[in-house]
Point group: none
Chain length 209, copies 4
DNA sequence: TATGAATGAGCTTTCATTCAT
DNA sequence: GATGAATGAAAGCTCATTCAT
């Protein structure tokens, strides 16, 4: 049973790999199950042996991203360096993670869209997706806010920083990501340093360097 | 020679209003022409008297947003205040514009998604959308970069600032927008000040106030 | 009332002219009421002031053709020449009539198609058209058969000729028409003589001239 | 490497059979994909597994007819009998072929109509069909003309016969076909002999029988 | 397990016809 | 009479999902 399990899981991952590539290329709404099957080199019906349906593929893509995010957050939490250094590490870690897997990252566009469509609870038609993209950002903000507070009391960060500033830091990352996704001429990887430099030291000249 | 033109344009705007509301509620991919018609209180076929098809509605939504953006940029360009003040005005203007029309702003999710799906030019299947969302951000970055350079030479901004930092400023806005769109508990309007404060002065404490 | 009537009829004819032109160009099934209106230089709704609906335009086209046919038949009946000469006149008259109005003649394709679709009475879904294209050929055959019989008893035609041979003579005309309609390189007008020559004298060499 | 190919091709033929029956009954323009599917006893969507779309069904009908025609022409070419006998064989072969499959033959009405609609190359709206009905008649005329010329030099046919007379012979066949399609009281099969008799010997009495 | 043929709900789009102006 | 905006029934086509093999 154990080896079967591994095979099964490996196959599932292969299919998800394929799905992510196609989602990145065509976008989720334009991707047909058959496209995924073709990319994975299997038959259409076989996809259903590993995934409940089309949306499950997107949800599985979300899971991958969420897992990567959780890892980045865990790494940052484990750091014992000063808060501002930990913050810089967090930003770099997040950007590196996103830039390392462009196809997977491109799926974020679809997750935002699908997740955002669920922002109004009025009607359950269509029912909201099974994944909670907002939760990912909540966690990021929570950790950043904690670092900001720690940096304000123990380190050299300004006191009084909190959720709003955390949102801005997360925004700087995600906003750069967005520009990259929408415009390939923007190079996400090279924006990691400007993000930390701008957020930590601002754009205004300082009395002494 | 514009006898019914006013009516016709007004009708078109009404339908677009309706489309924007439905797009905001259900997302573009899940929106059927009939939903738009119902929201506008007209028959399905009538939509086609004013718009070429479903994608034309999205493109018209883009046009609205692009027009608003152009206005914000024009206002900022016309400002004769110091660069850092102009920058703050630009941020505030953009955020205010976005927050003032939540439904229209929510369409950005679909524009990002549709525009991003065109990020790979490999195949023309499906053909890329008629609108260029990336161009909007290019213009924002260009103006911000110009302000940063001006502020570096004439004002109190750091010298050497350019495109990367401009991308970060734009990212701070769009990233906050994103978090708001995906999570209604984030209040975009209240993030305008934190954005400018963080970007201009950074998060690090300054030697003197 | 009289002058009104003339105006009304003239307008009706104008619209029918336009319809015939468009039918010839695009075929009846592909012709929209709006195409006819545009060709006639009037508004779509105005067509309905003169014709019951789309099919009525086709039926009116049939009427025109039927009237032309009736005229050709009447001319031939009125002839007091020998049967074989009258037959030649009939063929020439029919071909001349058809070649003189190519657009109207092209509508025959649609009439055959629409009329033929009604050839099976099984179901009345869709209901058969209001015009009877088969009747036109019945009348032609009847007159030709009469001429053949007359030519057999009084003239130099073979005795014993009847409906089958009449069908062949009519077929020679309509078959040339068909080839012309389907292939513009076939010149209908120049086929009038070969039709009569072939039908009357055959293709086989005759003992003496 | 043709494991399911037989089945697939057989299925395709079944669907085409059904389409031909429905086309014959209702005419192509009035036939909906669903009618074809119902006639074939399958679901609407399944038709698209075997044919690109509605027009592909008509084109496939044309292919069938063209194949039959090619066979008739090949048989006539292979004949080593005198030209006038070969001509009679050709006429009989064509008529027999047409009369043997009335439903398929009825599709000619739609092919004429669709092919004729493409007679004016002015605009490509709608684009012309993929099949070339005119080519079928060109081939018939070419072979008949050849036989006529051969019969003029080697046989007992008149000298000087050519394309015009070939058109008349083809017309006699197709014109009888037309009358049959439009009027079931005309019996195509019985017209084969009158066609050859009339064309070869004419209607005029001969000095000696 | 794997396949891919089959299904049919669902969607976009067209257009004949109506009717208020 | 004339108009053309509005309607909504149709029809073509797609594709997620199922299931017999």
């Amino acid at each position: 049973m154990a080896p079967k399990r591994v095979d099964r899981d490996a196959r599932r991952e292969d299919i998800l790999d394929a799905a992510v590539r196609v989602f990145a290329r065509r976008g989720y709404p334009a991707t047909r199950i058959e496209d995924v099957a073709a990319e994975a080199g299997i038959a259409k019906g076989s996809v259903y042996l590993y995934f409940e349906g089309r949306e499950a593929l997107l949800a599985a893509g979300f899971e991958r991203i969420a897992r990567r995010s959780a890892q980045v957050l865990a790494d940052a939490r484990r750091s014992d360096r000063p808060a501002n250094d930990a913050l810089a590490e967090l930003v770099e870690g997040a950007v590196a993670m996103l830039a390392a897997e462009p196809d997977l990252t491109a799926v974020m566009l679809d997750l935002w869209s699908a997740g955002g469509a669920a922002r109004r609870a009025e009607d359950a038609d269509p029912p909201p997706p099974a994944f909670d993209i907002a939760a990912v950002y909540r966690e990021y903000r929570a950790l950043v806010a904690e670092l900001l507070r720690r940096g304000g009391s123990e380190g050299d960060l300004r006191p009084g920083l909190g959720e709003p500033e955390a949102a801005v830091v997360v925004a700087a990352i995600e906003g750069c990501l967005l520009q990259w996704l929408v415009d390939p001429s923007v190079d996400l990887a090279r924006l990691a340093d400007p993000i930390t430099a701008t957020c930590l030291d601002g754009l205004r000249a300082r009395p002494e360097g």
